[in-house]
Amino acid sequence: MNEEVINIKNKFDNKIVEFYEKSKKRYYITIEKDDLLDFVDYIFNELGFRYMIETGIDTPGGIEILYHFSFDSRETVVTLKTLLDSKEPVVESISSIVPGAKWIEREIMDILGVKFLNHPNPEKFILSDDWNEKEYPLRRDYDEKKNNN
């Protein structure tokens, strides 16, 4: 485990819900959504990780948002995982810290119906303007046949 990952572990020792080392290159850290901005600020601004992207996944337990960060010179990808309630998925937008997150958060909003608080421009991004409200194509309960016309 390299220095940067140890730093994250030490700094947020009591806030890490689960720490998983898949390989020497890939670390997955599960956190509470309330701690998200603290983690992102530390990883992105202080440690200087590169922001890669976010992935939204609808799982049986809720909607998971994965924040992928890369430390290129150490060949390390750290992924922050946070779980949101499927009925009311709300999470703070990280775009105040990472300007490059604006697009992908709008995309996740479109496809999974996650609400990003304090997003500067929470408008439709990838779906057409006449797409049905409350229908999110990457949700598990999305009915393809109904919309396939």
């Binding site: 898949k22 890939r26 060949e75 990472v98 300007p99 604006k102 991004f125």
Partner: protein, 406 residues
């Protein structure tokens, strides 16, 4: 409303760029808010061509997905499958045979060569150097012909599969590929001279659309766009995949961050690509092993795959639940991170420079569909060609004034 706002409302003109133009690789819509000649703000709308690839991918088996993601982009059509197989190999911890690694590298670098040549041509066209355009596209042809000879297709090569590659390169074909590369090198010299030694290109591109290292970090900019700003990030070096850690090559970095630096990075990278392909071909002569490993099943878990496409890192995330289909497959192309940098690079520049700044990150959006002047008496409409013409006329004016000064 303050006086300043009143004035700016009167003078501000909105120029729509896009969403469709035959020269664009993908449809995208930009609005340039300009005051006089100067760009004050840029807004965009994207995803006119949203095809639901991520959703489709969930309905396909692991073996079928490479053919799907190959069709995300026509130009970097091997970067996506390569990144996807990297993700699944990361997930299932699959080791790839050495010969397959070399062939993966050859295909990826041939693709970079043709993509950079395509870009040099387009950039030349937007600046009014149509000879550079014709040259670059003419010399790109032999690269595509080699691709066709090796893979069967000029685009969409269908070479990548989980655990290896699908088609071997016949060792008898190696001399012809090497000959093509040898013939290509002087042509790249020619283009390098045309771009790097031309005072007018210097005047049009140096100091224009500067992207600072801080902005690279903030927006997560990638590939030649980041490397032209002094950031030494290259996935081939940082997260070695295929054969990039067993061959000898350099990461090309320039410090200035302007349009010229981005062009220089791409031109120098072509030399690196040629050298890398030569090394891989030499290695193939000695390395006569398998080209694939047998993959029985994909265990549950998460996998992250990366590949350095001509425009930067392609990122794929795959989650498996142990069945034969991915539960979630996330794709992030480099332009997704590079295009938002327009927010900082175009502001404060002139309209005629906007075309080449937008082109410099290589999304090829620099063609306008139409232009409408609002908030003025009467309405004037210009076509997309007019914006390119404005850019070309600026070069012409500079050429003339240079001659007069002599």
């Amino acid at each position: 409303m303050s006086d300043e706002n009143k004035n700016s409302k009167k003078e501000r003109t909105v120029i729509p760029i896009g969403p469709y133009h035959p020269l664009q690789e993908e449809p995208e819509y930009f609005q340039l808010h300009v005051e006089g000649e100067i760009v004050k703000k840029i807004e965009w709308r994207t995803s006119y061509n949203h095809r639901g690839i991520e959703k489709l991918s969930q309905s396909m088996s692991y073996d079928q997905v490479p053919y799907l993601v190959e069709r995300i982009c026509g130009i970097c059509s091997t970067s996506h499958p390569l990144s996807y197989v990297n993700a699944v190999e990361d997930l299932a911890e699959i080791e790839v045979p050495v010969r397959a690694k070399y062939i993966r590298t050859i295909i990826a670098e041939l693709e970079r060569l043709h993509s950079h040549l395509l870009w040099v041509g387009l950039a030349g066209h937007f600046l009014g150097f149509n000879t550079v355009w014709m040259w670059a596209w003419k010399y790109r042809e032999p690269v595509l012909e080699i691709m066709e000879a090796v893979t069967g297709n000029r685009q969409n090569y269908a070479m990548m599969k989980i655990g290896g590659i699908r088609r071997d390169i016949d060792n008898e074909d190696i001399p012809s590929i090497k000959k093509m590369l040898d013939d290509l090198k002087p042509k790249v010299d020619l283009l390098r001279g045309a771009v790097m030694d031309d005072p007018i290109i210097h005047a049009r591109t140096k100091g224009i659309g500067v992207l600072t290292p801080e902005d690279v970090h903030n927006y997560g900019a990638l590939g030649p766009t980041a490397r032209a700003s002094g950031i030494k990030d290259d996935i081939r070096r940082d997260y070695p995949y295929a054969a990039y850690d067993i061959i000898d090559w350099d990461v090309i970095v320039e410090e200035e961050g302007d349009v010229f630096a981005k062009a220089v990075v791409r031109i120098k990278e072509m030399y690196e690509s040629i050298s890398m392909i030569h090394q891989c071909l030499d290695a193939l002569k000695k390395e006569n092993g398998e080209i694939e490993t047998t993959v029985k099943e994909i265990p549950p878990g998460d996998g992250i795959g990366q590949a350095e496409a001509p425009r930067g890192e392609v990122f794929h995330f795959v989650r498996s639940d142990g069945t034969n289909r991915p539960v979630r497959h996330k794709v992030r192309a480099p332009s997704f991170c590079n295009v938002p940098t327009f927010e900082v690079t175009t502001v404060g520049e002139t309209i005629s420079d906007a075309a080449i700044i937008l082109a410099a990150v290589d999304p090829c959006y620099c063609c306008t569909e139409r232009m409408a002047v609002i908030n003025s008496e009467g309405e004037k409409s210009l076509t997309g060609d007019d914006l390119i013409k404005m850019s070309q006329q600026k070069t012409e004016r500079m050429r003339k004034s240079k001659k007069e000064n002599k």
